[in-house]
Subunit: 246 residues, 2 copies
Amino acid sequence: MTTEKPEPRLRVIASGARTDCDQCEARDRCPGAGLNDEQLKALAAISTTRGPYKPGEAIYRMEDRFHSLFVVQTGAVKVESVSDEGDALVDGFYFSGEMFGVDAIGDSRYRNDAVAMESTWVCELPYDKLEHLCGQIPELQHKIFKLLGHQIRQINNNLVHNRGLPAEKRVMMFLQTLSESNVIRRNEAGRFRLPISKGDIACYLGLRPESLSRALSKLAAEGVIRNNAKLIELVESETAFELAYK
Amino acid sequence: MTTEKPEPRLRVIASGARTDCDQCEARDRCPGAGLNDEQLKALAAISTTRGPYKPGEAIYRMEDRFHSLFVVQTGAVKVESVSDEGDALVDGFYFSGEMFGVDAIGDSRYRNDAVAMESTWVCELPYDKLEHLCGQIPELQHKIFKLLGHQIRQINNNLVHNRGLPAEKRVMMFLQTLSESNVIRRNEAGRFRLPISKGDIACYLGLRPESLSRALSKLAAEGVIRNNAKLIELVESETAFELAYK
DNA sequence: CGCTTGATTGAAGAAACTCAAGGAAGGTGG
DNA sequence: CCACCTTCCTTGAGTTTCTTCAATCAAGCG
């Protein structure tokens, strides 16, 4: 998508001197946020920044042994698995400041692929070391527990609450959730564009690409979104909100 | 459902002297399993056994402040929330040895109701104390992290992987998953009966009661399950397995 | 320039839903 | 003990929604 090499926010965790976490879009979802300098330094000592991953490149694969959690620094990541029928299933999307790989905790291997959707930098947190550090820094332990709880809530909400809804509502809920989470940069007009292919969105929402396309066309006709082929923009409005939640 | 007062397995956590966890049906999902006597005693010191909850009685409600995690000792629990449209949504079921309430970690309140489906005893683990104890007992911390990871995996699998499947497969996957998890006692013939109302199952699977009923009738006609009005039994077989996974 | 990939649109089909009625089981009160 | 009621499950008929299949179109890339 974006071809320009991003300026990676390496310092979010890696240096510890600057707590960039506090300026992060998804502040409360970043493990380092809220720690003091000393604690941040300890966290930085076990973490490694990796990247840039090119679009389509894997950060980990389902065959890999589980060894680390990851935090998105710049870019966007999709996590996908394979259905029993053999086709791709999108488990979730992760953006700047968000942690992924947690579903493998306690398992010997990752059970899905994590793939960059655009040029992406991540911060790797070796799990053993992280767990050990949690035993020494109560604030970090607290934070990680909190993050896990949040992730469980998130998954439940996204999956349970939109299942059974008609396609259009599912789309609007998806867009609203993304909008509220503030993980995607907005343009001047307050709109944001998705770095996710429509195929992936469809898959994540449990729809066929065709069904998503139809829903998007309809929503665009109603004026609540813009739908430019490879680009979706949410037009924030009362109408949009109502379509999502009512 | 069952009217006889259950013999609660209080000692699973409460006494610590006997590590009944090791004989628990869902051994790996019980926080106490794998700890030594001293550690178990510490865990027991912060935990309280509560019950019996009568069928339909709430262990916590969505209005309640989040304060504790719970482990099912005897019985069965459903966790349900409310959709934007106002009707009930079943988030999940929990059986003997399984921990619930974790989706509220890091939140100020529970966001759903936990309701006993049959006469139920639970073990309450005050979250603050548990977290504090985790900082002192690395094995416990490890265990809790593992449990949370497992729960995230579980939710993903149950929700992502059966979405989009036809009703019959959804039912079979649900039954197989339950069967494999070994959380429900089996009768002499190796079959197990569900202490869950069909309405709740339908809701959990994202189906209308009518659709579930039709699916069950069809599966019963094919001989892979028994469907006695208030009772579903899975007839373990190669056919059943294939229907679920192929 | 032609090839590939992803998005769109149309028409026909299948699956689940809604609406409605009927039936079995459990609980309550006479 | 039986009648009644409520609740939950079942079954049927018609409709909505999404899917499937197929063709078209646009964009990116060799």
